[in-house]
Amino acid sequence: MSVETQNSQRLDLSAIRNRLGASSAREYWRSLEELAETEDFQRYLHREFPEHASEWNDPAGRRKFIKLMAASLALAGIGGCTRQPAETIVPYVRAPEQFVPGKPLYYATALTLGGIATGVLVESHLGRPTKIEGNELHPASLGATDPFAQASILSLYDPDRSQVISEAGRISTWGAFLAAATRALQDQKAKAGRGLRILTGAVTSPTLSAQLQSLLKLYPQARWHQYEPASRDNAKAGSLLAFGQIVETQYRVDRANVILSLESDFLSSGPGCLRYAREFSSRRRLEDHQRGMNRLYVVESTPTNTGSIADHRLPLPAAEIETLARALAGRIGVPGVAGPSSLPRGGVESWIGSVARDLLKNRSDCLVIPGEQQTPGVHALAHAMNHALGNVGHTVFYTDSVEANPVDQTESLRQLAADMAAGNVEMLVILGGNPVYDAPADFDFARRMDRVPLRIHLGLYEDETSNLCHWHLPEAHALESWSDARAFDGTVSIQQPLIAPLYGGKSAQELLAALSGQPGRSGYDIVREYWKSQEPGPGFESFWRRSVHDGVMEGTAFRPRNVSLRPDFAAQVAAPAAREGQGLEVVFRTDSTIYDGRFANNGWLQELPKSLTRLTWDNAAMLSPATAQRLGLASEDVVELRLEGRSVRAPVWVLPGQADNTVTVHLGYGRTRSGRVGTGVGFSAYAIRTSTAPWSCHGLEIIKTGDRHRLACTQSHHSMEGRNLVRTSTLDEYTREPDIIQKMSASPTPSLSLYPGFQYTGYAWGIVIDLNACVGCNSCVVACQAENNVPIVGKEQVSRGREMHWLRIDRYYRGDLDNPETFHQPVLCMHCENAPCEIVCPVAATAHSDEGLNDMVYNRCVGTRYCSNNCPYKVRRFNFLQFNDETTPVLKLMRNPDVTVRSRGVMEKCTYCVQRINEARITAEKDMRSVRDGEIVTACQAACPTQAIVFGNLNDPASRVARLKASPRNYGLLTELNTRPRTTYLARLRNPNPELEAS
């Protein structure tokens, strides 16, 4: 019985609506399949691993398999008697200082996304970086990381990274490249660099920008272009509209009582999101709320993590958000802005009224955040609203741009493309980036690039762009090279290498130095000398050492600036958005896992279930249920998306909460040259994305093809059959009746067991997860994967339900199909007191420890999978195949040496990071003391930007975890089964506006 051969039953959306209408408002649902009770879903429900027997489902194969098993069983005992092969110990010849074998070292560095830095600490075992942690001293990290940073370890060791310098596809040398480049540059020198073009991404690095400036001095007529597919052009343009200059906007989210997001996913994407998430969650914690809980309103076209935690969320097509912003600005009293004569749809009017009153009530304590992808008009209106509400200087600050040379990047690339078409470009140097793949479709970049006589590409991979370049140079990864970069607030971090370039890569700084006639200068010299020129004097050495050590350069954050609205501001934004065309609206977004495509070859990110769709290994065209019904489409139908004469084929995904008549597609997929992991995965939304509408436009046509494309979704696996697993209430209800959460389900008394309970005299570990803080950002999932050597399994295995993540984030819905409430729930091993898995294991491979952990012993496990069968939480993972790559040498360097690399046929699951517990216990015992509260931080907890996960000793009543567990919000999953889980949750509370709640 193969899933592939089954005809998936079409979802009957009107039946779903009827069911929802008939059910009580408190009913949770999880996915459309569950609601519709399709056959597919029922099959998943009754078999956890739906395809586990299909490896040998032909009778002959099965018979042979049993024979082989019998033989191996007979030989198994003999196998136990083999002698261990001789192993060698290879000590240093001269040991470096500070290296203690067996003890990791941590180095501060920074990782950039779109040029903007987040400070990290990298764990290094004898020179091998193995794990990324956040840098508490860094303003953009505060100790947390995003999934991209966590996964960068895998990118570093990726065996598919380019490893040789190549000229027209043939292996070449650095010397040969230098000779060719020098010849071309001499030629350019004579022309003052008229034909020289340099293309970079967004640059915040002071060193790199100084190098570029001095190169432009050498070649005065050369040009420096910048392009990021996920550019922040709209924010810059909005700032120009409002203030007449480009400034950076920063928020103090913790000071705001009321926050309105105009399609901004500020809690999980964009510069500073980790900090904003921390600040936001500090006002969602009831346990320390001196200033009261905040309230979040979100208007958005596509469901985001920020929208999912909003108190009020309004789905609206992207194009209508500017109209809404104008109406709101009119209500708030922004001078000169009159609300539009008509609002696009009913119901919105009262919504706007309530939000405006709420904002006005909280003057100077509120915040309006425009989304980076929204129009310049929305940005300008948001600036004006923040001014009118008196937020500037309190919750909103303006600073200089963190980019060294802030330009309109789309225009910059347009200029380059035009120059190339005109034949003005003779030498093009591309420093990172992949414009052939991700440039706007109307630039026709690949064809125009063909006219450039010398094209040089520096990149991590041999990608689409390097394929069309004469020279490809392997780029050094951020963990292999010296550089510097600014964070969202301007703070400079020195990026230091953790390991020598694995594949002989060069950094952009080193290549630029070579092009400026200084070949062979090391990245270290370049960066250090730049800063020496900035900080001359005797104090430099200590300044430098301190900056490198701390990962932040003191006093480099930008100071807030005073900016005032342009007097003609109202006229600037008055242009009505009359782009109401026919057809559907298409919205482009970066992907929450592989971003703009740069992480396409990263298996951890490819297999990371996307926060809201739970899809892996694919992108899809997101449609709202109503739109899908109108068009007669269902999930996994393949459609052709046509926009302005361009088209791409894409599978459909029906997403509750999506704005009607809006189709969202995510960038980054459909790579043709990426590597073994990323090539040919998904479809490229860049094919229909143009420079005039980089984020959204109207006029999309959807043509049904009749084909179907199976998507690997982790959504309907592990279903918990509608038990009240996520408990929520509102702040008012909870304040009136604090035990409302406890009343939602009865727990059996501990005396239900025949046996006396175990007395935990030492430690008793436990975790509590605050669902009010969790935004579903997925950092914990990747952090767990990196820490615990969790393998990836591939799309086919995921669709069989065999993904290996020890920690998953379940997503539940409640209420209305068109705009449901969304809940994220991280689920890891519960370490039950009465663990159902332990009693069924025939070989005692899973057993309880004296500290309350449910231990899993891999070397004992024989793979019966009884434990997984008996686990009500479905957190156990089985290695059906040899998922861990044990042969690729470079991947061996990546693994955490403190955790066993599991092999085929073994069950595994979350251990509460027992390696970290043991390490801390040993350290404490050597000092003859107890482990302090907060000394052990699990990998998921460390990565969490909102500090939603708290680990600690339940036996210590003063510990944070014990205090949180005493909260009336605390509850366990499926406690009615008397499993007595150690992982518990704090119920989610909403803080709705009573005005809107009544309607």
């Binding site: 002698r83 110990i89 010849v93 067996g102 043991n918």
Partner: protein, 216 residues
């Protein structure tokens, strides 16, 4: 019809049936004993090394402290194998021309590591930590034997789980005062049990015998 078999066949067949039970049990016992024997565990088998380094000479003869070479034994899970530089600290002066030490000098000259054969080799799924054992009063010789009397090192224990558990279940039988940890000739006193129980209390030694103590 005459009997085909003699009457004694009955006894013989009974004997062989009952005997088979003992024979099988004996086979099992033999298998377990083989598994514990030096043939499998390589205990008491001196391993030849790239350089015939003698602990007997350096420890007993010269009185060099264990920690001169095994520097991280008090800090880390791994006791540490000295870098070639440590050898050369002395051997650039003493026995500087000895042909036996040529591999050491070659390593130092060419900057390539010496590759020592591991004698105490735990399976890869076991995570052992030297530092905690040393700081809780478990002597070097408790596990490694009297290394000061070994010209080439051999292990004196099976390093099997039952051997680990013997001590983990009853640490009071094996613990010694902290100042005796490095003493190669330490002999437990007659009242080890009394002393052990006192030390277990003083050093706050816990009976750690659950799986994740060593397996993770």
């Amino acid at each position: 019809m005459p009997q085909v078999f003699h009457r004694s066949t009955n006894t013989l067949s009974r004997l062989s049936i009952y005997g088979a039970v003992f024979a099988l049990a004996g086979l099992g016992w033999a298998g377990l004993e083989i598994n514990r024997s030096p043939y499998v565990t390589q205990a008491f088998v001196a391993r030849s090394q790239p350089v015939p380094f003698s602990h007997k000479h350096h420890v007993q003869g010269l009185g060099i402290d264990c920690r001169y070479c095994h520097t991280s034994v008090e800090d880390s899970s791994f006791a540490g194998i000295p870098p070639t530089k440590t050898c050369m600290n002395c051997h650039s002066q003493i026995w500087a021309d000895s042909p036996t030490l040529e591999p050491v000098r070659a390593s130092f000259r060419s900057d390539t590591s010496l590759e020592w054969i591991r004698v105490h080799d735990l399976p890869d799924f076991v995570y052992f930590d030297h530092s905690i054992h040393v700081s809780k009063g478990i002597g070097c010789s408790s596990c490694h034997g009297q290394v000061d009397q070994m010209p080439l090192v051999w292990s004196v224990n099976t390093l099997q789980m039952e051997w680990c558990l013997d001590c983990h279940r009853q640490p009071e039988l094996h613990v010694r005062p902290k100042d005796q940890v490095l003493n190669m000739n330490y002999q437990p006193p007659a009242d080890q049990l009394t002393l052990g129980q006192k030390l277990v209390r003083d050093y706050k030694i816990r009976r750690l015998d659950y799986c994740s103590t060593c397996h993770r």
